[in-house]
């Protein structure tokens, strides 16, 4: 799994950080930052939850072989 974000779309709701704190963080203005772009399998469900709860559709994942 590869995690992608579109920072200009981010509205700093912080939902991704709450759902997957090992994968997402925020900059000083609350804008999403990726900590690990290829998270371990143990975090995949949390990442999917982050994608689902992001209000601005600023996060998505690309499945890799």
């Amino acid at each position: 799994m590869r995690v992608k974000v579109d920072q200009p779309k981010c509205v700093a709701s912080g939902q991704c950080v709450l759902a997957a704190p090992a994968v997402f963080d925020q900059d000083d203005d609350g804008i999403v930052r990726i900590l690990v772009d290829r998270p371990e399998a143990a975090h995949h469900e949390d990442v999917k939850e982050s994608v689902a709860v992001c209000p601005a559709a600023a996060i998505w994942v690309e499945e890799e072989e």
Binding site: V11, A12, G14, Q26, D28, D29, G30, A56
Partner: protein, 412 residues
């Protein structure tokens, strides 16, 4: 205006009126007519106070899709926008804050005030919030009961917190709480609504001037020194933004505290779960579930379509008003099993109580921490907390933009 009850092939059934009334005796449940609407035609026309016929959207997936759709506008000055009442319509003409703007203007202004609401900054406030909660409860418990929990606790907490963040002196709280109340009342007199709005803006404009001369570590000082001084915002725009944050910080969390307490006291098994646990996960889940179950922003999220949009086999036309009914969406059985049951152990994170899309509540991380501290402290600190009036005697805010109770007499 009269309408015939005879239905013929040429007289269409009149659209149901919106908002709809809750059932008596079911203060936590959305109006039954809203549920029928969702079960029947989840996308359908309703009739507003001014005779206009916006679309009502009731399914969770469709509410989320529409609120996240850039082809829809939150700008109340556009023709077709479904104004909630005459006061709101009048006020829409007099002010523009990011909550009523579309991107890119919305994003530009919103980003000026996102910093204090980042998760780590809000987490850092948790001990200070805990201290305020503890102090307010000390004072409340020192008084002879019964006391009004709204006045003694639910309103002062968010008020103190947002005043601290904004840099507004709390000793003026009578002034701004009075005006804020006018702004969240449905069907207020338009002149009175505008007067309240302008009084808040005037006050904040004065405060911004003071902050420019003598800045502190707060949002208004930041706006004054980094945005107004540089010409990025006018003083009026900065004051409007401050007024939005001040008002939004008050009525929302306060109502979640008071109404959440009524709901928990009516569900003693759930309250016991919460009281007996110190698991932060259960406490966080409690907050999400109560947000879902109560959905205090109960008059829907209002929008207007900018283009033709297809929703569930229906085409919303450009210029049509759209009401996304987040309260009934949060009771959608497609997403939440047994949705009318308050269940603190369920995963309610996908609720839309804070809205969805780019306008999703800016203050939600702060609201979450405040509510987590409150719900994990109040009932443990006062295990015998009880209503000092029957539920049927409480005055619920049916007429408010934000749902809640006007007073909450409690004893212990």
């Amino acid at each position: 205006m009269t309408e015939t009850v005879t239905t013929t092939a040429t007289t269409p059934t009149p659209h149901p009126e919106f908002p709809m009334a809750r059932a008596s005796g079911c203060p936590f449940d959305p109006p039954p007519a809203l549920r029928e609407q969702r079960n029947g035609e989840p996308v359908s026309r309703v009739r507003l106070w001014d005779g206009s016929n916006p679309w009502l959207i009731t399914r969770h997936d469709q509410v989320r899709a529409l609120l996240g759709d850039p082809r829809i506008s939150a700008d109340p000055t556009r023709p077709g926008y479904p104004h909630r009442d005459a006061g709101a319509k009048a006020r829409a003409e007099t002010r523009q804050t990011f909550i009523t703007m579309d991107d890119p203007g919305h994003a530009r202004l919103r980003r000026m005030v996102t910093a204090p609401f980042a998760i780590k900054k809000v987490e850092a406030m948790r001990p200070a919030i805990q201290k305020i909660v503890d102090d307010l409860l000390d004072t409340m418990l020192a008084a002879p009961g019964p006391v009004d929990l709204v006045e003694a606790f639910a309103l002062p907490l968010p008020s103190l917190v947002i005043c601290e963040l904004l840099g507004v002196p709390y000793d003026k709280h009578d002034f701004f709480q009075k005006h804020t109340k006018v702004l969240v009342r449905r069907n207020g007199d338009p002149q009175e609504v505008i007067a309240a709005s302008e009084a808040l803006i005037d006050y904040l404009q004065g405060l911004l001037a003071d902050k420019l001369a003598e800045p502190g570590d707060d949002i208004l000082s930041d706006l004054a020194t980094k945005r107004v001084a540089t010409g990025e915002l006018t003083a009026r725009e900065a004051a409007e933004m401050g007024s939005l944050l001040l008002a939004a910080g008050h009525e929302t969390t306060a109502n979640m505290i008071a109404l959440g307490t009524v709901a928990l006291l009516q569900h003693p098994d759930q309250l016991a779960l919460l009281r007996d646990s110190d698991d932060p996960k259960l406490i966080a889940a409690t907050v999400e579930e109560l947000l879902r179950y109560l959905t205090i922003v109960h008059s829907g999220r209002l929008r207007v379509a900018l283009e033709d949009i297809e929703v569930g086999g229906v085409t919303l036309r450009a210029g049509d008003g759209v009401i996304c009914a987040t309260d009934i969406a949060n009771r959608d059985p497609e997403l939440f099993a047994d949705p009318d049951r308050l269940d603190l152990t369920r995963d309610a994170r996908r609720h839309v109580a804070f809205g969805f899309g780019v306008h999703q509540c800016l203050g939600q991380p702060l609201a979450r921490v405040e509510l987590q501290v409150v719900y994990s402290t109040l009932y443990r600190r006062i295990p015998t907390l009880a209503l000092a009036a029957g539920v049927d005697e409480l005055r619920f805010k049916h007429d408010g933009v934000i749902y809640g109770v006007y007073e909450l007499p409690v004893t212990w």
